[in-house]
Symmetry: D2
């Protein structure tokens, strides 16, 4: 069950509620987020919700049959909107477009990408400064210095920064320069990282694990939410299957399924989802039609010279065409 507490609840009232719940053999977790103060009760026994519902200090109470709770639409039917400031939002009914290179490489590249964003009305830019790489000998990113440079250049345009955080110690270091912290597919179940991201007041975008289930993705979001941070975005980016003709298998089924199960925004990453440059466009358009609230994809001034992922990266001409087409597809989808 989820109990939302009144903002002016006093300690005695809260204690009484916790005691009551514990009597029903439910454990309780207290959750304080940017939006409110909740008690999450975990247990199995049946009880009459009115026994608790009328206690003083309670704003509302819901029984949530899913095993994830705070991220479930059984609790919160209305979709959550993530506000990045300056009018930039990731929200149901909108189409968030996030583009940029796999890796931040240097000033010239950042500037050209920002110029590309400006020309196409894109307000969110992606890019990696800490790169998870299978091999220890590969390029691991330009690090915090790259991020600071990017931040300086992007803030002039009001373009928001979406970038991956790989470990707890990076959160504080990156905090001032990041608008959306991305949790990568290899870290979806890095629970310590999720715990720490629950303590901050900036949006977190969680990518589905390399072979993560839809439920595991929701549990990972529950970690951050129950840690105190409601500002969450989920991202489908392809799963590992036996098929080798594509880099991953973009599981667009996950889009409508997630939109039914959770109130959080759901976006798709067709670049990693198929991994083949010329097929990114049809998969991005398909994701829009499947109901995605946004698309994140890789673009670069000269993909052939990108330090990573060039084979799945669009050049700016392709990217501009894609942006225009996604918007048209989204316009059509909205009237359905």
């Amino acid at each position: 069950m989820i109990i939302q507490l009144n903002p002016d609840i006093d300690n005695g009232q809260k204690e009484a509620i916790v005691n009551k719940i514990n009597q029903l053999k439910y454990s309780t977790t207290e959750v304080k987020t940017q939006q409110g103060d909740y008690l999450v009760g975990i247990g199995k026994s049946d009880f009459d919700i009115r026994e608790i519902g009328f206690m003083p200090g309670i704003r509302d109470i819901h029984i949530v049959s899913d095993s994830y709770k705070l991220v479930s639409r059984k609790w919160k039917v209305d979709y959550t909107s993530i506000d990045l400031g300056d009018g930039v939002k990731i929200a149901n009914g909108d189409l968030a477009i996030i583009t940029g290179p796999c890796s931040i490489e240097g000033e010239q590249q950042i500037k050209e990408t920002l110029e590309h964003c400006r020309e196409n009305g894109v307000k969110m830019m992606r890019g990696g400064v800490f790169k998870p790489r299978s091999s220890p000998y590969s390029f691991r990113g330009s690090g915090i210095e790259g991020l600071k440079l990017w931040y300086e250049l992007a803030k002039k345009d009001g373009v928001k920064i979406v970038t991956e955080v790989m470990q707890v110690s990076q959160i504080a270091e990156m905090y001032d320069y990041v608008d959306v912290f991305q949790v990568g597919a290899r870290n979806t179940q890095n629970f310590n990282l999720l715990d720490e991201l629950g303590k901050i007041d900036k949006p977190v975008m969680i990518k589905r694990g390399i072979s993560g289930t839809i439920d595991e993705l929701l549990y990972s979001a529950e970690y951050v939410f129950s840690g105190g941070n409601e500002k969450l975005i989920l991202c489908e980016r392809g799963i590992r299957t036996y098929e080798t003709a594509s880099r991953n298998t973009l599981d667009l089924n996950a889009i409508p399924i997630l939109k039914e199960k959770t109130h959080l925004p759901v976006i798709a990453d067709p670049s990693h989802g198929i991994g083949i440059r010329k097929h990114v466009e049809p998969m991005a358009l398909a994701a829009v039609m499947a109901g995605a609230d946004g698309i994140i994809y890789e673009s670069h001034c000269i993909p052939e010279e990108a330090m990573s992922d060039g084979q799945q990266t669009l050049d700016f001409r392709e990217s501009a065409k894609l942006i225009s087409r996604m918007r048209k597809a989204h316009e059509l989808k909205k009237v359905f």
Copy 2:
């Protein structure tokens, strides 16, 4: 290599060509289809194509580096169009819509489905009369009598019949009543069935295997083509993965990948691809945007009472809405 022979080639010329190819250590398979007479050469050594190309009796010759040959776009760049007669086609640039129940159940159901097709301008109807079922105790379909009844009712409307053939002995029995023979996901590598379907002059739609690769699907099509039947359609219907939130994982990546690799039409089956009624629509629309040449999906007058697959079957109101939306999405896709 693929050599297309002149229609008026004489036996001596053909023999000379075969001898020449065998000297290069290539094996040859002679293929006679509705469209032409070909020699497929399989081998590894390099040679100068001009050595063969100027021999009398040869119309053209192509080196095809893929291990499938006749279905490859490296041989035939122009997309193949499948003509079912009466102006009904499955073709690149069009949107073929095929709907109907999982199983043919009886006269009333057939009539209502045909009425639904007529009202929505749908010219192809699906339905199973021989049903592959995991358990021997499940309903196995209405059989040949069901098919004959369906045929009688459908021919008045000029609606084309798409239905699954499960074994060699059924081909002759079904032949007069079928417009497209469907090979089900469990039979994608039933090579004897494919061999026999190569000998007939009716279109064959091959579904991707339950965990078949894209290449295996192309090889299965190559079986039918090399057996003598060019009239082929491929169908993505979801693959088996670890994810249990959906019945299968609809692999829409396969649509653009197949459209690049083969000249054959590629359609998608969102009903089996996700297996959840309310999510069929977004996945159908996504498949259109991914570039599918057609959509096959399940509809029924009363899905709750369907003898099979009711959980993934649309009612006619939902189906009509979907048809209209798919057409709008396709109109948009065409101008991209």
Copy 3:
């Protein structure tokens, strides 16, 4: 439920039982096998087993909660033994060894393999005469002539023949020359083939599907059993996963799980299960320790020259060593 009928039941008694069962809203399938006459009831309602159990003509009755019935150990706790004649058995507690080439190639090869069997006390030989191949241009086997030759040579030694049947029409053709009909991994759900194999009186070995579940394998066996043939053997041969370092992923978990769920013998195929010659031995030994009732693997006089699967085929020296080691491992396993 499964009802075993008395051999001397009369029609009136049988009809009374069927009526009684139908009243409970259970459908009935009558099954006559080599061993007995059964009624399989499929339904969901609860009832008092004594209502039926005391009716005349019933030998025994069991409620089987699994959705497969006749192959379940919930019905038949004692393990089934398959007798191939001449003292050759596949049975719980024994270790059946089946070896031979991927494909039957010719007289010399057959003779050398039989000689290898004789020297090592192996009484069952495998070999393909009809080969399922992904590509239509690959070698498809020596056909019925190869089988007849093999039969003539093997019968002198009393060596039993295990070979794959690919389609219904081959059953009659092959019947006189085969001791165990093998259903290959691509045909595990070729239900027409399974139906027909239910009508014969020779053992059938069913390989697990390329990505078949354990339950699907049991259902496939249920097809044959409910068709009238109890002589069944199951074979784990590796499943398709994302791992590409091996040809398949030999799922040895399936051995103890199947031995718990079914009374049928369970064997393992390490050759296809790993697909790498030098690793066949450890996987064969592992399968013995996991509880397999037998091992089927590929051997050839000169693996490098085998017409198919040479990369996973042992030479006779390696094979002899493996046989000896498997027997020692099995001796140890027996005393555990």
Copy 4:
């Protein structure tokens, strides 16, 4: 390429070697471990190994065609042995047995498990004090206090402690109380954690990722090795597949494949690999026969009351029987 440097190399010599390698367009990583000082060169061009091999300061040089280097048997053919002190080793040809509960729960449980180890001559005990859990509401382990208690109790018996580390900050905290740091399946690609574990002088056991490839496991080991720590053990613990009859699919193919590819010891975890208590024994025995250098499995005084994983945990009677049988199987395997 891998160059082992002489212990007494001077800076000028090292610089000359690095320059030479860079001229060949190879990048260099200097690696200092407990055993030696290496230069790993990563590049693609061909060169004559003698050009470098005779330079002063070089002990030996190897070309390693694998993309992982220091963990490859192409560099180091002899198997690595991990010495935990007091005569306890994990080594090729031995059978390391590691048992204990999923979670450390308290003094009584630790004492009983240690007693069980002592009675059966087991010198390594497993147990979790930091538990990765899908849901944030599940028990997360007894933490550092549990570890300290365990350490105090275990050191009297000379039993070595194997336990999971989940994040960088725990390494220092746990260091004094741990003999083998285990990296769990969800952290196999937590590269920051691997980097930090490369800086310590205690053995690290890396579990294969939930859907990790064999190559990815080797790369993860390469992270630790190239960070400076050679003391590595790999562990196969089952992979995620479509099969739901078992918790994971224990991929025993990985055992002989890893033993061929790497010089590091390879152990198996049948508890997680199948997830069903009664089937842990056959899978453990199978792993021994497949060539595992050790087995790690879960045992508990009263599995039904374990705080986690009880369904796959043996009681001490079952565990004692298993230990005896694994040793017998290993004795047999050794003489093969």
